[in-house]
Symmetry: C2
């Protein structure tokens, strides 16, 4: 870079690292909101988060950025280094995204979604969707405006622009094609699975929350969650927040069913390990961030679905579960446990769904959110459209809106275009894991004895340490020698359930 005046690229690095500090602050304040904050602080907190968002946005749209980017793109040292070039490309991407929306708009969106999230908490508790129609309508209106603005700037369709917030380059067409492939085999897999596994016993009984939490922590430690850089807490909806040095995962407890909190913890641990493994050299820089949500979700599902329902993992944990709960679980054997963990049963709640029925939940949300964004479905008609969709796809009907369209926070927090990444993540998880265990045959036997190092090492090299130096689709192809498809997922489901 020479010794004289710092390069434009270097100034950009400095500016982006300062933006990252503000975003990390927001991440902790958001975690606090969901886990610790007294309810009376919600209004003040919404204003704080909106202000921090505004600061990041103002910095991205600073008039000097345009020239800095243009000049940095001419700097020869930058173009000759893959990481620097990717970092700069990500900077330009963020800058374009930020310029597509005014500061005022961003602030108003943040305030509106915070208010709606808060109202959602109480509407969900009283299972009453009509309570939040005003707040939710305001959110939908703003998200539609946002999609239109982005569409004008980027020349993509409004809904594609929403998808791009969570996964660059992903299009409706990709989603339609993959979901249509899924619907080719998923109904028959589901029929088979219900025949095979439908009569599996489930655990009924009392599982003290303290004992569940101890078990969760023990398994997190075995998998490799770094407690010196992270925490496990409780919230309404499990999530993974914070940042690479300060992983904040949450779960929720059901004292009738320990598998609910347990599986959520395994899922969020997968997310957290991805964050933890991001390249330290690039901390605070765009290229050092996680790739979009498809890869993020692939990392959580790889742990939760591929690894933690495997024969090897179930053998590993069965004694821990016996020890944690004792009583009638003292006789628990691996086959019983695996039957329960791999139970397939259509249900109303997405986060409790098994891996066979889960994609149906996503397909429903994908269809409905496209209709909401296109203006073809009115907010007040959402509950009935939801019920109808559930009947069509899974032949069941939610007892109330809490088990229906109020179950997920996403839309109420303004997140449209997010849901499809869950199922694309499941496809990616299957494809990555099947490649991993072929390329390193030591992975599964090591898991059996509680050694996750071979797996984490493979993930580190092929996923975590890459940051977003290449696209999700390239990463998958590079790691698995094939483009993303439904093939590995289908093979995996047929092996496990048919």
């Amino acid at each position: 870079m020479g010794m004289g005046k710092p390069s434009s690229y270097a100034e950009l690095e400095d500016r982006f690292s300062r933006i990252a500090l503000v975003r990390e602050s927001s991440a902790i304040l958001s975690w606090d909101w969901a886990t610790m904050m007294p309810v009376g602080a919600a209004k003040a907190r919404a204003a704080q988060l909106a202000e921090l968002e505004k600061i990041s946005h103002e910095r991205l749209v600073d008039p000097k950025m345009k020239d800095l980017l243009a000049r940095a793109e001419q700097e020869p040292d930058v173009q000759s280094d893959m990481w620097l070039a990717s970092n700069l490309a990500q900077m330009r991407q963020q800058w374009m995204n930020a310029n597509a929306l005014s500061s005022k708009f961003v602030e108003s969106l943040a305030t509106t979604t915070s208010a709606c999230e808060l109202a959602w908490r109480s509407a969900r508790e009283s299972a009453n969707f009509s309570e939040i129609i005003p707040q939710f309508s305001a959110v939908v209106d703003l998200v539609r405006q946002k999609a239109l603005s982005l569409s004008e700037s980027f020349g993509a369709s409004p809904y594609d622009c929403l998808l791009h917030q969570y996964e660059q380059n992903l299009t409706e067409r990709d989603v339609d094609s993959l979901f249509s492939d899924l619907l080719e085999f998923l109904p028959s897999v589901l029929c088979n699975a219900l025949d095979e596994h439908g009569r599996s016993s489930s655990f009924k009984g009392r599982f003290p929350i303290g004992a569940q939490e101890l078990l969760n922590r023990k398994i997190m430690e075995i998998i490799g969650f770094p407690f010196e850089s992270g925490r496990l807490d409780t919230s309404h909806h499990p999530f993974s927040g914070g940042g690479p040095e300060d992983l904040r995962i949450t779960t929720r407890y059901d004292d009738q069913d320990f598998t609910s909190s347990f599986m959520a913890v395994l899922h969020e641990t997968g997310h957290a390990l991805y964050e933890y493994g991001l390249p330290e050299r690039w901390r605070g820089q765009p290229v050092g961030e996680a790739l979009g949500m498809v890869i993020h979700e692939s990392q959580s599902l790889l742990i939760e679905m591929q690894v933690c329902r495997s024969k090897e993992f179930v053998e590993l944990i069965t004694p821990h579960i016996r020890e944690a709960f004792g009583g009638r679980l003292l006789d628990l054997d691996e086959d019983q446990l695996r039957a329960v963990l791999c139970k397939v049963e259509p249900g109303c709640i997405r986060v409790e769904a098994d891996e066979v029925t889960y994609p149906f939940h996503i397909i429903l949300r994908y269809r409905l959110e496209r209709l909401l964004i296109d203006g073809e479905l009115k907010v007040e008609d959402l509950p009935s459209a939801w019920r109808e969709g559930m009947r069509e796809l899974l032949d069941i009907e939610p007892a109330d809106d809490a088990a229906g369209c109020l179950q997920d926070i996403h839309w109420y927090g303004g997140d449209f275009g997010y849901f499809p990444t869950y199922t694309l993540g499941a496809l990616a998880a299957a494809q990555l894991f099947s490649a991993a265990v072929v390329k390193n045959t030591d992975i599964l036997p090591s898991i059996r004895v509680g050694n996750f190092k071979p797996l984490l090492q493979w993930l580190d090299v092929n996923v975590h340490s890459l940051g977003c130096s290449l696209s999700a689709f390239s990463l998958i192809e590079r790691a698995t020698d094939a483009p993303l498809s439904t093939k590995s997922f289908e093979k995996h489901l047929r092996a496990r359930y048919c």
Copy 2:
């Protein structure tokens, strides 16, 4: 203000409310640091806090501020309204403070103190002062530089400038004079108290932390802590953080002695009630903030020392303590409890000191910090100077540095000039409470039956709701019809201990 272009004053209000949001964010991140944060996140958190501090500072020193302040000071509507005028005066004060120091300096101070605070945690654990000499020397150097810069800008002595950070208008001369008045009667009160109360029994035994916490929460509720806008948690050093809508108080537990966590909770509740009572109309504005630390500390000590060791309060809580711990405390009577709570005994730990010996701890710190700031005491000589001072003032010697100069976080976090406000707060608490119970004779009888409303109402009118619309000294004089002195405190101690 007219209908056209918004006034300069209005623009200032907007700017200061945005600064307040950033500071509120910092307050929660600092609370999280002390209560929740995994240790591996410390470096990242220090950078986040430094960045937020930098943002506030940059906004205060924005070149446009100078003109805005000058123009607002000419606006007739502002000068004719006491609150607007006070708000504007506070804005100018903050602006002058900020301009006395460069952004770069402020950032470096924040990073250095964060690093030193972290090192302090481990040094204190291993009772090894020499571990943190490098970090602490760096902090002292920066604080001395800061004092000199402030001194140049404000024309006050460097140490007075440090005092002003915590209490505007307070001077070394005030402190010297009040501390010299104290030393006139305090040694003889101490002698008497040791004769009278020295043989009081103390509680020995096991007090489960869960039971202590339940008791603490119950008493907080009786006093009027608004749990819908606040929390109680655990930290190394008890503190009151967060903000008016999001009160975050902490305590620490000793399972051999419930009075330690209990009294810390009462103290922090006093701070929190002050914040909670600040004028809502002025939220986010300088005039709506708490006055300096003398008044803040007066509010915690008024609850902890004046109210909660009174005969009336002890009668109120004795049954709750019996119920909380049972066992050998089932026979506890009011006199026994009061004897323990009012026990006087010279000890090494400031936060555990009784109200008679507490001022000696402060006088020691006041003397030592003046020497450190004047450069007359070297950092490496602090432990021996500390031991010597303790011998002179209280005739005891700490067993190690953890019980000596490592016990308090203040200096290691860069807070010099803070300690004197504790004892000035104790004087103010005595003076305010003695005025309150004279002016409203209902206060003490109501406390006896668990009704804190009359007390809180008096405090609201005379202290809380005033924000910093007038100076600490004026507030005290207005509420008590006399300037701040040691008289009420002396009278109070003689009544209770002689």
